[in-house]
């Protein structure tokens, strides 16, 4: 009774299950500014959606969730459009480079090994660093505030940033440095995202926080803004080239995810930056652990369909 046939996926799935999945991932998206592709696509494959359709339809639903999330954050003044556009341009360049790198690796026959190891290492490093840093920050809040209040002596990193050309001030983020900096970081994240086959939100967020030194709330809104455009591009390309976007699946997911994203954005506003970081770090570490376990345990089936993340 609650099942709906998905014509492109070629399978019948429970409506409530899809609404629930969308809601959960949308909530995380609104809360942390991540697209949620690294969570949603494996979940969709688990419920019986072909991998290629899961990845493409997920991109489509991320368009809705990130529109909803970006809009919610924009109203709260949390979107740095200038920074977002620079990261986006870098991301597109990096994505193109990453696709070429994957082609070369596939030719050498060890692409999957590199992808899996990159995934586990990136999730592990990013998750652990964020977790430890946020925990320390939460414990020593007062000490951190005192340190911040001191007149800052520019570090080597800070001096290097100031020396680069095309200096720019980012009002919303309250930072000033060369436009080359977010452009090259965007490129780096784009390369990693293309290698791992994900949108890259969970790498971009820590990059914005720790390397671009943007406030956490602006990071979330700006990340969503950037993800929105990346996923629009992916959805249209997948629809034209592979015909793998299932609109029925995407609509069910996006109804759940847009509501979830709004709730997430509200909860995000109520939580402190460090609390948000520690929550995201925990989820990233959980995904890393799950992936590590799946790499160690013998799989039920030694064959699977091609496609997906």
């Amino acid at each position: 009774m609650w099942n709906l046939y998905l014509p492109i996926a070629g399978n019948s799935i429970n409506i409530l299950l899809l609404l629930g999945l969308g809601g959960m991932v949308g909530f995380l998206s609104g809360l942390f500014g991540v697209g949620g592709g690294f969570l949603m696509t494996p979940l969709l494959i688990m419920v019986g959606i072909p991998p290629t359709v899961a990845a493409a339809s997920d991109s489509n639903q991320i368009v809705a969730a990130s529109t909803s999330g970006t809009y919610a954050h924009y109203r709260m003044g949390n979107v740095d459009f200038k920074m977002g556009l620079l990261l986006l341009v870098g991301g597109v360049v990096g994505g193109t480079l990453g696709v070429q790198i994957i082609k070369i690796l596939r030719g050498l026959g060890n692409a999957d090994f590199v992808i899996k190891i990159t995934y586990v290492v990136m999730l592990g490093v990013v998750g652990s660093y964020m977790f430890v840093e946020s925990l320390q920050s939460l414990r020593k809040k007062t000490a951190v505030e005192v340190r911040r209040a001191e007149p800052a002596k520019p570090s080597v990193y800070g001096r290097l940033l100031q020396k680069l050309p095309w200096h720019m001030h980012f009002e919303k983020s309250g930072v000033s440095f060369s436009a080359l900096f977010p452009l090259s970081l965007g490129t780096l994240v784009g390369i990693l995202a293309a290698i791992m086959g994900v949108g890259g939100g969970f790498i971009m967020v820590p990059v914005m926080v720790y390397l671009l030194r943007m406030p956490m709330h602006v990071v979330v809104g700006t990340s969503l803004f950037q993800i929105l455009f990346t996923c629009i591009n992916v959805t249209i390309m997948q629809a034209i080239i592979n015909h793998t976007v299932d609109l029925v699946l995407a609509i069910l997911l996006l109804v759940g995810s847009t509501v979830g994203a709004q709730v997430g954005a509200r909860v995000s506003r109520r939580l402190k930056g460090d609390q948000l970081k520690i929550l995201l770090a925990s989820i990233v570490l959980l995904v890393m652990l799950q992936m590590l376990v799946s790499l160690i345990l013998t799989p039920k089936l030694l064959l699977s369909y091609k496609g997906g993340h």
Binding site: N3, L4, Y5, P7, I8, G10, N11, S12, G48, N60, Q61, V63, A64, A65, S66, T67, S68, G69, T70, Y71, A72, R75, G109, D112, F113, K116, I232, T235, I236, M237, Q238, A239, I240, I241, H243, V245, L247, V248, A250, I251, L254, V255, T258, V259, A261, Q262, R266, S294, L295, I296, L297, T298, P299, L301, L302, L303, S304, Y305, K306
Partner: protein, 259 residues
């Protein structure tokens, strides 16, 4: 003839035996019958798999096998293996001549075999037709055929259902055949061959084929034609719907917050 020790009487018996053995199926065609209910399966918005009923008639003393065969299609699968102690994809395997659906039903507790030759039905017969290429060696084919079966059985697209057909005990005349087979939600739109084989004394004495059509109707049909024939418009439509829903939810939540 006498050189081979055959007289006229023996020759007549031999001719009769050859005639019966090599008899074209049309001779007994009047006895075996097969009907499907429904003959056409419609996949609409709320399709979640269905069952198809089989009815027919076969000669007394027969065993019956029914196969439901989809179109052979090349499939690319990923092979998992261990590298440096970790399980991951280690290559692609191309599977050729594998039907996209294969169900085999019988009136016996086991799928029947034939005397003196391999049965043309069942997973063993399927294995002889399917070709595996790519990241596997010749000795690994058996193992990966079993893995392929496990994958397909987990989706309900391949199944062996011995005893799924029942035969009535009619005192006279043809025996009535009945059975039901499941079509899983993952069944692809297309035409499927439903093939009835009648076996007597370990030999196939008759075969009948029927076509079963599975087709998309209503909203799924409209959406599939848009997706496959107008990909660019479909992609733009998908993005616009997503953006509109995103904004709509944004407005709805904004309104709620202001009250």
């Amino acid at each position: 003839m006498t050189r081979f020790g055959l007289n006229e009487k023996k020759l007549a018996w031999l001719c009769l035996l050859l005639f019966v053995t090599l008899m074209p199926s049309g001779v007994q065609a009047s006895v075996a019958r097969l009907h499907l209910f429904p003959e056409q399966v419609e996949v609409g918005a709320f399709f979640q798999g269905t069952t198809v009923r089989l009815k027919g008639e076969v000669p007394p003393g027969s065993q019956v096998v029914v196969e439901i065969l989809g179109t052979p299609k090349e499939q690319v699968l990923l092979r998992k293996g261990r590298r440096a102690g970790l399980w991951m994809t280690v290559g692609e395997i191309r599977v050729e001549h594998a039907p996209n659906l294969y169900l085999v039903l019988s009136s016996t507790k086991e799928i029947p075999s034939l005397e003196g030759r391999n049965a043309p039905w069942g997973f063993a017969a399927l294995k002889s037709r399917i070709k595996f290429r790519g990241a596997l060696t010749e000795p690994e084919i058996d193992r990966f055929f079993q893995e392929f079966l496990k994958l397909k059985e987990s989706e309900g697209l391949y199944a062996a259902l011995p005893g799924a057909l029942s035969l009535s005990n009619e005192p006279q005349g043809p025996v009535k055949l009945e059975g039901v087979f499941p079509l899983p939600p993952k069944v692809a739109p297309g035409t499927y061959e439903v093939r009835l084989s009648v076996i007597q004394n370990g030999q196939v004495v008759d075969q009948k084929s029927h076509l079963l059509t599975v087709r998309l109707v209503g909203f799924p049909a409209l959406l599939a034609s848009l997706a496959f024939e107008h990909g660019a418009w479909y992609g733009i439509l998908a993005v616009l719907i997503a953006i509109a829903t995103g904004f709509l939810m944004g407005f709805l939540f904004k309104g709620k917050a202001e009250h």
